[in-house]
């Protein structure tokens, strides 16, 4: 057992960190000025969009751990690119369905896809059925993936993001959202690959949750780091506010929460490709429950440490809060995860 990144994973972390820092949203003004296309291109060139593309034997080119490493780096930088939506959630869905060429297309970076979620963002949209919903993290995407019932399982379909979709201003300022309000026209859907089994869907959900958690961990860790730096520099009463024990303990508590979430996330990311799908999913739900439970508190503590300035739109603090709260909701908040964990613990055994 060694619950630490190995040397290659460490290197990946540095590469992802460099790309993320180059595209970082350090203050809300950056949202207008960042060259998102260049950031996407960097990710593509470093091969980071293709981590879940399968080789000829059906193995992903990298494990959930690598995906989490990249997702955390991009979360830490609040980077406004659809990594989760396109390179993780959509690509993995295509890869699991055996839609290799479609997955490769996304990995190359020239094309993007979002993911279609149901109205409460708690699951991939099922068509027909989910008559309202959202394409999530679909910046620059011409289509989003959804599921339709098919003999043998759930069939992945490509839904064009056409006039039926209205871009909406959600809480998250760094990732985009488009709403549909009426049943999707079935004639516009294209099938991709073969139907997915329950086990494959569980595997997909495990990866998706782990990646969302890693994003949240990145958002929290960088928020805490910024708050700590501010506490060292901000002078009140002639001393840095970080010399007050109350501020120290707020920082410490936020740090502990973020690290606890990171511990659970590391395991979830590792479990994706190693444990049985059910176990992997429980590990992922555990991490999501933990991340969801602390995301609000941690980012609120950070806003509190920043004091008045941390309450303003021009400050970065609320951008962290918004992204973390959105991660919390996508594919189910902690309450949803806990109920599913309880099903396994209390009924499943």
């Amino acid at each position: 057992m060694l619950a630490l990144l190995d040397a290659e994973q460490q290197m990946l972390k540095e590469v992802a960190g460099q790309i993320a820092r180059a595209a970082e949203v350090a203050n809300p003004g950056d949202l207008k000025t960042r060259d998102r296309a260049a950031a996407w291109e960097s990710l593509a060139q470093a091969g980071l969009l293709g981590l879940r593309v399968r080789d000829e034997e059906g193995r992903p080119s990298a494990s959930g751990v690598e995906v989490a490493v990249v997702a955390e780096a991009l979360g830490a930088g609040l980077v406004p690119v659809p990594y989760l939506g396109s390179a993780v959630l959509a690509t993995e869905l295509l890869a699991l369905a055996g839609a290799g060429p479609e997955a490769e297309e996304l990995a190359a970076g020239g094309k993007r896809a979002g993911i279609l979620l149901n109205r409460d963002l708690s699951a991939p949209a099922r068509l027909p059925g989910d008559e309202q919903g959202y394409a999530w993290d679909c910046d620059g995407a011409a289509e989003a993936l959804a599921l339709v019932e098919a003999p043998g399982g759930a069939q992945v379909v490509r839904v064009p993001l056409d006039g039926a979709f209205t871009p909406v201003a959600g809480a998250d300022l760094t990732r985009s959202l488009a709403r549909y309000d009426a049943p999707i026209d079935p004639s516009g859907l294209t099938r991709a690959g073969r139907p997915l089994t329950e086990a494959e869907l569980a595997r997909w959900e495990a990866l998706a949750l782990a990646a969302l958690c890693a994003d949240t961990v990145g958002v929290m860790r960088s928020a805490v780091t910024k708050a700590v730096e501010y506490a060292k520099e901000r002078i009140q009463y002639g001393v840095p506010i970080g010399s007050f024990q109350a501020v120290q303990h707020m920082c410490a508590e936020a740090y502990v929460s973020a690290e606890a979430a990171a511990s659970a996330t590391g395991y979830a990311a590792w479990a994706v490709d190693v444990l049985e799908p059910g176990e992997a999913l429980t590990a992922a739900r555990t991490a999501k429950a933990q991340c969801g439970a602390v995301a609000r508190e941690v980012t609120e503590t950070v806003m509190q440490i920043f004091g008045g300035i941390g309450q303003t739109y021009e400050h970065i603090a609320h951008v962290h809060t918004r992204r973390a709260l959105t991660d919390r909701q996508v594919l189910g908040d902690e309450d949803a995860q806990l109920l599913r964990i309880a099903d396994v613990r209390l009924t499943g055994e």
């Binding site: 509190q304 309450q311 739109y313 603090a317 909701q329």
Partner: protein, 375 residues
């Protein structure tokens, strides 16, 4: 001990309620334009003034009615219950002027303050002087019969619409920081005053930055003696932070009812957990209300607003922030997708309740002092 109105209070409440029913401007809460809303507020101030509802607790000699603060609390409560526009907050400026002002200043500033003819704001905080107000850097340099002011103020609520400002500035940089501060009554129309709205995380521009560049203030508009600014500020802040504004209680109740309706619309009222959380929100509101009533009773009994106000401040922040958490959890994804975006705004608006007017940490420090814990 009696939580009921005295006969006098009951009579006042009844006539006030009737008056409010007739005088609350129709459709005021549908106004979206900020300038128009400011005009409405000014007119509302005037209406209240003409009916004798402004400055009721002020001494008669300054245009008040020398009534107990209880009547202002009743005004706040009833106005809140009937969803009236925000009540003008003249108490803290007035108290500063009639406690520390010269006769001439009182005559000049109090009547238009009461009537609403002159709207006021408060120029205290600065970017580098938040919790530590005494470290403020805005400088007022004496130049003949004028002071020349330079600096930057922050968190000046209502700065966009104010005519006058109660300004704190450093007049003597060479003495310990609390001692070199003076207070000024200064027109916002003076050359060199620039107001810039601050947009909050909620997206609303609720407060302002104010830049002061070589603004000239006649010496006669200094309030109190040179160096007395800190004392004046502390009096003002004590009255600002106290439990006087019980209007919050009513607004909390309105919000709680809205949250209950949200839960009902989403079919969550069957869930014991949701029921308990809504009941807990009710309990928090009641606890705050009752604590504020005790504070108010102390004031009515002649006690100056004391550190006990910090208890109410902490309970207030907790109640408001918990309620917004509950709303967010009931709304779930709708709060994130913009389907109920106004609640996301309310959530962000609840966050600074534990920051402004003395952060939660400062309030706990104050309580620790009151408990006699050593520095």
């Amino acid at each position: 001990m009696d939580y009921r109105d005295t006969p006098e209070e009951a009579e006042f409440r009844a006539s006030l309620r009737a008056w409010l029913a007739e005088n609350i401007p129709a459709g005021w809460d549908k106004i979206e334009d900020r300038d128009e809303a400011a005009r409405m507020q000014r007119a509302w101030h005037r209406t209240l003034y003409e009916a004798g509802y402004i400055g009721m607790s002020w001494p008669k000699e300054y245009g008040g009615r020398s009534l107990s603060p209880m009547y202002e609390a009743i005004l706040n409560e009833e106005a809140g219950n009937l969803n009236a526009p925000r009540l003008p907050s003249v108490g803290y400026i007035g108290r500063a002027v009639f406690t520390y002002g010269s006769e001439e200043q009182k005559k000049r500033f109090l009547p238009p303050l009461l009537s609403g003819e002159a709207q006021w704001c408060q120029g205290f905080s600065e970017p580098e002087a938040g919790s530590d107000l005494a470290s403020l850097r805005t400088l007022a340099r004496l130049d003949g019969d004028h002071y020349v002011v330079n600096g930057q103020k922050m968190w000046t609520s209502g700065g966009q619409y104010a005519d006058w400002c109660l300004l704190l500035a450093r007049t003597d940089p060479d003495v310990p920081k609390h001692k070199g501060i003076s207070a000024f009554l200064v027109s916002m129309r003076e050359p060199g005053v620039t107001v810039r709205p601050i947009v909050l995380a909620s997206g609303e521009a609720e407060t302002c930055e104010v830049f002061w560049d070589d603004v000239r203030i006649p010496v006669a508009q200094r309030l109190g003696a040179p160096g007395e600014g800190w004392r004046i500020a502390m009096t003002t802040v004590a009255y600002e932070r106290g439990p006087a504004d019980i209007g919050f209680i009513a607004s909390y109740r309105h919000t709680l009812r809205r949250v209950e309706r949200l839960a009902a619309e989403r079919g969550l009222l069957e869930r014991p957990e949701t029921r308990k959380k809504l009941a807990a929100a009710y309990v928090r509101g009641e606890v705050l209300r009752l604590n504020c009533m005790e504070q108010l009773s102390l004031r009515v009994s002649g006690r100056e607003p004391g550190p006990e106000g910090s208890v109410a401040k902490l309970l207030w922040a907790d109640a408001e922030q918990s309620l917004q958490h509950l709303a967010m959890d009931i709304l779930g994804a709708d709060c994130m997708t913009g389907a109920a975006g106004e609640w996301l705004g309310s959530y962000f608006t609840s966050r600074p309740v534990s920051v402004y007017g003395g952060s939660a940490q400062i309030q706990k420090n104050i309580i620790a002092r009151m408990l006699g814990l050593p520095r």
